[in-house]
C-alpha cells in the first residue's frame, strides 16, 4: 500500500527510543512521581561538538573589564572584601552565561590577596577533555591588593 509513513521507530544499537509526547500536566506528574530515581532519556542529536564554541578571547576581555571596573577604585578592606569577591565571581559567571556558548558548564574562581610584602603561589591542574575544555585567567593589580579570576569551561552533552 502506498502512503507516507508518519511515524518511524529507529532501533539502533545502544540507543534509547524516543520519548513519546505526553501532555504537559501528565509529564509533570510522571516526573514528580518518578522523583530523582529515574534518568531522563534524551533522543540522540548525533552532535559531537558544540554549535557555538567557547571563545576564550571574548571571555578574557569580559573578565578583565569586570575586574578593572569593580576594583580600580577599591581599597583592600577586611570587612568588605569577602562580599566583593563573591559578587565579582557571580558577575563574571553571569557575563559568561550571557555570551551563550553551547553545551558548556562553567566554574569561576576569584582570589583577592592583600599586598603585605608576602608571596603567594597559585597552581591548578585539571583532568578533562583537552580538545574541548579550556580555561582563562584575568588579573587586576592595585596598590593595596591583587585580584585573580579564573574561568574554566567544561564541555558536556
Amino acid at each position: 500500500m502506498k502512503g507516507k509513513r508518519t511515524q518511524s521507530n529507529y532501533e539502533a544499537l545502544g540507543t534509547a527510543p524516543m520519548e513519546e509526547c505526553f501532555s504537559n500536566s501528565m509529564k509533570t506528574k510522571l516526573l514528580s512521581f518518578r522523583a530523582s530515581r529515574a534518568k531522563i532519556r534524551y533522543a540522540n542529536t548525533y552532535r559531537l561538538e558544540s554549535h557555538n564554541k567557547f571563545r576564550d578571547y571574548l571571555v578574557r576581555d569580559k573578565a578583565q573589564a569586570i575586574l578593572t571596573n569593580k576594583l580600580q577604585q577599591a581599597k583592600y578592606d577586611g570587612v568588605s572584601s569577602p562580599s566583593l569577591c563573591a559578587s565579582i565571581s557571580e558577575e563574571i559567571l553571569k557575563a559568561v552565561k550571557e555570551l551563550d556558548f553551547d553545551r558548556y558548564k562553567y566554574v569561576v574562581s576569584v582570589l583577592i590577596v592583600e599586598k603585605a610584602g608576602q608571596a603567594i603561589n597559585v597552581a591548578s591542574r585539571c583532568v578533562w577533555d583537552v580538545q574541548r575544555d579550556t580555561w582563562i585567567s584575568a588579573k587586576c593589580e592595585t596598590e593595596t591588593f591583587i585580584a585573580l579570576a579564573l574561568v574554566m569551561a567544561c564541555y558536556y552533552e
Partner: protein
C-alpha cells in the same frame, strides 16, 4: 570530615585525600620561596592522582594557593554553572607556622 555529595548515588570525600596530600608535601616545612613552585605542583598533582584513582566518571579541576603568613588577608570565591545534582566542589584549608594553603576541588560529571 567534609564530604562532597555528588549525584544521588555517588558520595565521595575528597577532603581527606587533599588533606593527606598537603601534609605529605608541606608537612613541617617553613615557607621557602625557591621551593614553593614545586610544592604547589606536587600538591595539585597528588590530589589529582588520588581523585582519578577513585575511578569515578568525573572531570576534575584542582586549584591550590599557598601563601606566606604575614597578616595579610586572602579571600577566595567561586561560582559555578553546572548540574547541581551531579557536580560538586570541596575546599580544604590548611596552615602551619609560616604559611597558609587553600585547595579547591571541582568535580564535573561526565554522562556516559
Amino acid at each position: 570530615s567534609q564530604s562532597v555529595a555528588v549525584g544521588e548515588h555517588a558520595i565521595f570525600s575528597s577532603s581527606d585525600t587533599s588533606c593527606a596530600c598537603i601534609e605529605s608535601v608541606l608537612g613541617k616545612a617553613d615557607y621557602n620561596h625557591n621551593k614553593v613552585n614545586q610544592w604547589t605542583a606536587a600538591i595539585v598533582e597528588q590530589s589529582l592522582t588520588h581523585l582519578v584513582k577513585l575511578g569515578k566518571t568525573y572531570k576534575y579541576i584542582v586549584t591550590c594557593a599557598v601563601m606566606q603568613k604575614s597578616g595579610a588577608g586572602l579571600h577566595t570565591a567561586s561560582s559555578c554553572f553546572w548540574d547541581t545534582t551531579t557536580d560538586g566542589t570541596c575546599t580544604v584549608r590548611w596552615e602551619n607556622r609560616t604559611m597558609n594553603c587553600i585547595v579547591n576541588v571541582f568535580a564535573v560529571a561526565i554522562i556516559l
